[in-house]
Amino acid sequence: MSPLNITHRDTATGPVLHVAGELDYAQSTALRRQVEQLPLERGQCLVIDLSGLEFCDSTGITALLVARQHAQAADADIALAAVPPNLMRVLAIVGLDQVFTIRPAADAV
């Protein structure tokens, strides 16, 4: 199991969280915590960059939904960037590709 590694940087449009490793039952809580404490301002866009993601189960998806709720509560937007093909397929099955803004890469608009 790869450890989860979350790095945070701020851009002109809002914070970017880069998530690397496995977003599974044991490790998703770390992302939830970090997201819940993330300061967000109205009109910003929180980007979650999943280019380093190796695995994501249902609890990982829950963490992404928590991030979406957090952004909505702050009147901010949220986007998932560089979603790996496997996760993209799952998001399409469960209909979340219609709920999240999906970007090819973190710096794409």
């Binding site: 039952y25 249902s58 998806i61 829950t62 496997n86 099955i93 209909g95």
Partner: protein, 447 residues
């Protein structure tokens, strides 16, 4: 010693001379001196036990003077009470009978009030006519031997005690193990009861329909996150659903329980597949996501109306973010039955629900499954997912197949995944028998 190349020396000189000196000294050692100072005690008594003669060694051992003993005391007077008793009951009678006793352990008392363990041997001297004259006795100080024996005894007692303690510890460990096992069994019973509230133990018989099911729980506590059900709506229609809640263990189980009973109640209230899922979505969202703790499930909900005569059975489905159902056709094809546009149940206040409809001809089977099947990791390094394409090909290879044949084949497939199957997996198959059974009498089958 003797050197062979020399003449033997005259005796009395050199090394031999030393030995001669030693012998001379021994010869000068009087018999009396040997008796008095021998390394053991001697005493001689008359046949009534009166002490007639005693050596210095024994007097010193007992701390007595010759004057106080000779002619004044009997042998038994020198013994402790216990020694005296033993002497009277065993020693003396045996000695009278055998004329000789060896190495009998007795206790003598010393002038200082102490006890002296001794080993006693006695011999009766007889006169020329064979009449007993006196008793000669040797007394060995057995203190050291007694101490040794006591040490042995103490060691044995220590060992015995250690053994007893080990035995007690073992018994305690055994008791703890039994207790743990009883606790585990009770927990397993509780979990089994709980598990039955999540999925039915058996499916009801549906007239005109065959059903089969398989449920694999990956977690050790057997509380799975997958669920399914099949139940009658009215005389003609049956509802069924199959889904997968997020998470694992007890939390997932409580979500599963809420989901199952919500769907059952919703279906009775409004038997439209999409309506049941819309109700479930509202309930889950209100219960979890609205409080900042999003929990959700994917689910296929269906209504089946078995054909009451030879003909097609209608199936209507609604899906919220669940993988598409699969149909094994009578002509050997296999098709997915997508219900696109649906979303995970429980994350938005109102969720889009996808719908689909199909008919099943005799010999055709509808399969619902959870993604434990399609997401199983395959390949030598478990790096690939089994996937929907492989599932479709697997089903096409086996079509047409009855529900039971389909489930049996898939159960074998799941087993072949080994540890690549790391998620719960539920399978539910409904099918129309290829040769439709003759209908029961109309009185038993109200329309």
């Amino acid at each position: 010693m003797c050197r062979v190349d020399e003449e033997p020396e005259p005796s009395g000189t050199g090394g031999d001379a030393d030995m001669d000196v030693a012998f001379t000294t021994l010869l000068e050692d009087s018999i009396e001196e040997l008796y008095e100072s021998a390394p053991c005690g001697y005493l001689s008594t008359l046949m009534d036990g009166t002490i007639a003669k005693i050596n210095t060694t024994l007097l010193n051992l007992l701390g007595l003077t010759r004057e106080a003993v000779v002619g004044r005391k009997r042998f038994t007077d020198l013994l402790t009470v216990g020694g005296k008793l033993y002497h009277e009951t065993h020693f003396a009678p045996l000695l009278r009978m055998q004329g000789e006793l060896r190495g009998i352990a007795l206790e003598m008392k010393t002038a200082g009030g102490g006890r002296l363990p001794v080993l006693v041997s006695s011999l009766v001297k007889h006169g020329s006519e064979g009449e007993p004259l006196l008793i000669r006795t040797t007394v060995f100080d057995a203190s050291d031997r007694r101490a040794y024996e006591e040490e042995l005894l103490r060691r044995r007692q220590d060992a015995e005690q250690a053994r007893a303690e080990a035995e007690r510890a073992r018994a305690e460990a055994e008791e703890a193990r039994r207790q743990a096992e009883a606790d585990r069994a009770r927990l397993a019973d509780a979990l089994a009861v709980l598990q039955q509230s999540l999925v039915p133990t058996s499916l009801p018989d549906v007239p005109g329909l065959e059903t089969a099911v398989y449920y694999h729980t990956a977690s050790a506590d057997r509380l799975g996150g997958d669920f399914y059900d099949l139940f009658p709506l009215d005389g003609k229609r049956w509802a069924f659903f199959l889904g997968d809640v997020c998470g694992k263990g007890p939390q997932a189980a409580s979500l599963t329980s809420l989901t199952r009973y919500t769907l059952r109640a919703a279906a009775l209230h409004d038997p439209e597949p999409a309506a049941a899922l819309t109700t479930l979505n509202a309930v889950l969202h209100e219960r979890y996501a609205a409080g900042g703790d999003p929990r959700y499930c994917t689910c296929v909900f269906g209504i089946v109306e078995p054909a009451t005569e030879l003909g097609h059975t209608t199936v209507r489905l609604a899906s919220g973010g669940h993988p598409p159902a699969l149909v094994l056709r009578a002509d050997g094809r296999a098709d997915f039955l997508p219900a696109p546009g649906g979303l995970l149940i429980g994350i938005l206040p109102t969720a889009p629900i996808g719908t689909a409809e199909t008919t099943l001809a005799p010999g055709e089977t509808l399969l619902l499954y959870t993604d434990g099947l399609t997401e199983a990791r395959t390949g030598p390094d478990r790096g690939n997912l089994y996937g929907e394409d492989a599932l479709l090909a697997f089903a096409a290879d086996r079509a047409p197949a009855t529900p039971q044949e389909t489930i049996t084949a898939l159960t074998g497939l799941l087993k072949s995944f080994g540890d690549g199957l790391d998620d719960d997996t539920a399978l539910l198959a409904l099918g129309v028998p290829a040769t439709h059974p003759s209908l029961p009498p109309a009185t038993n089958n109200p329309r």
